[in-house]
């Protein structure tokens, strides 16, 4: 009774997942070494994409999240979302600091006050 809801993942499926993971490792090792010519910019997206597929296989089948209670997936996905927020906003700050608005070393209000005061003082 106690284990009625526990899904037992069949052995052939576990083996298939393992073999898929090995194949993806070989693919990532080969593409990581290869000169992709005009597509060299694809190295990083390709490496991360394959790693994400591999991690997804491990999470869904080895960790059994596919057959698990949704609450566990929720805890995991919230964790991943936080990593996304962390990475995205750090990179946004790093790459675009100063590009949006006048967030530079000068005081923000300085020039604006002059512009506002100039028309009222001129006539």
């Amino acid at each position: 009774m106690a284990h009625a809801t526990h899904h037992i993942i069949p052995r052939p499926l576990l083996l298939k997942v393992f073999l898929a993971l090995v194949a993806l490792t070989i693919i990532t090792a080969l593409t990581g070494q290869a000169d992709l010519g005009a597509f060299n910019f694809m190295h990083v997206p390709l490496a991360i994409g394959i790693a994400v597929i591999k991690a997804t296989l491990v999470v869904l089948f080895f960790m059994g999240l596919k057959y698990d209670r949704p609450i566990n997936a929720l805890a995991f996905i919230i964790g991943l979302l936080m990593v996304g927020v962390f990475l995205t906003f750090t990179l946004l700050d790093m790459l675009y600091r100063g590009d949006i608005g006048n967030l530079d070393a000068q005081p923000i209000r300085g020039p604006q006050i002059e512009q506002v005061e100039a028309p009222s003082g001129s006539p």
Binding site: L14, G32, A51, V58, M82
Partner: protein, 226 residues
């Protein structure tokens, strides 16, 4: 116990067969299992957040100095990194099999797969040991201690700071995992687990898979920079 069965008369029958592993603050073994597992998933989320700090540091330094990462990564042996990836994937497979056999109540195969996982984790650490000692032999140390004659470019020490910290903390997780899995294997040998109660096997397997997942990302990001 008596109070609980009085409060829920309908479940009095369940209390007659009260299993020794069921702690009294849980209604049922099922609830105890679910609580343990949710706790583990939350812990795994915090583990991911721990590593995410290092992955973000990696991203920043790589965006700042891509050419340094490209040159420094060549000093790592991708064949050893790839071998370790396969070893960890195999260990993930064996620990998944261990859970499978725990669910079926096949104690012999459960114990065998747990020990196999520990051995594979050991192989990973041995390969890591050879990698580290080869680096140290060439005076490849993190940060300002980097003193390898073969590659002297600005900021190269930063790459190795990131390399040693990330693989070091990952390696620490592997060592902890070996300890936990060995303990679980010994408990399995003593017959502590059954299809009704295998929570510790399941929980430690989840931890072990996470250690595998971290390495799945570390391998291409550190060893395979073109």
């Amino acid at each position: 116990m008596a109070g609980a069965s009085e409060a829920v008369p309908g479940q009095a029958e369940a209390h007659v067969h009260h299993p020794p592993y069921l702690q009294h603050h849980f209604v049922s073994a099922e609830q105890q299992f679910d609580a343990a597992k949710l706790g583990m998933w939350i812990f795994l989320a915090t583990e991911i957040l721990l590593f995410s700090g290092m992955f973000v540091a990696y991203a920043i330094y790589r965006v700042w100095h891509p050419e340094v990462f490209q040159a420094a990564s060549k000093l790592l042996d991708w064949r050893l990194g790839g071998l370790n990836t396969l070893v960890l994937l195999a260990s993930s497979y064996t620990v998944a099999l261990a859970v499978h056999y725990a669910q079926l109540g096949d104690q012999k195969r459960l114990v065998r797969n747990l020990w196999l996982t520990v051995v594979l984790a050991g192989v990973f650490m041995v390969v890591k040991y050879f990698e580290y000692s080869e680096k140290f032999h060439h005076h490849i140390f993190p940060g300002g201690n980097y003193a390898y004659e073969g590659l002297q470019i600005p900021y190269v020490g930063q790459f190795f700071s990131i390399y040693f910290v990330m693989t070091g903390i990952h390696g620490l997780h592997v060592l902890v995992g070996m300890g936990i899995l060995a303990w679980i294997a010994m408990r399995a040998q003593r017959g502590h687990f059954s299809p009704e109660y295998y929570t510790p096997v399941e929980i430690s397997a989840l931890y072990w898979h996470l250690v595998d997942i971290i390495w799945i990302f570390l391998f291409p990001l550190l060893y395979l920079i073109h």
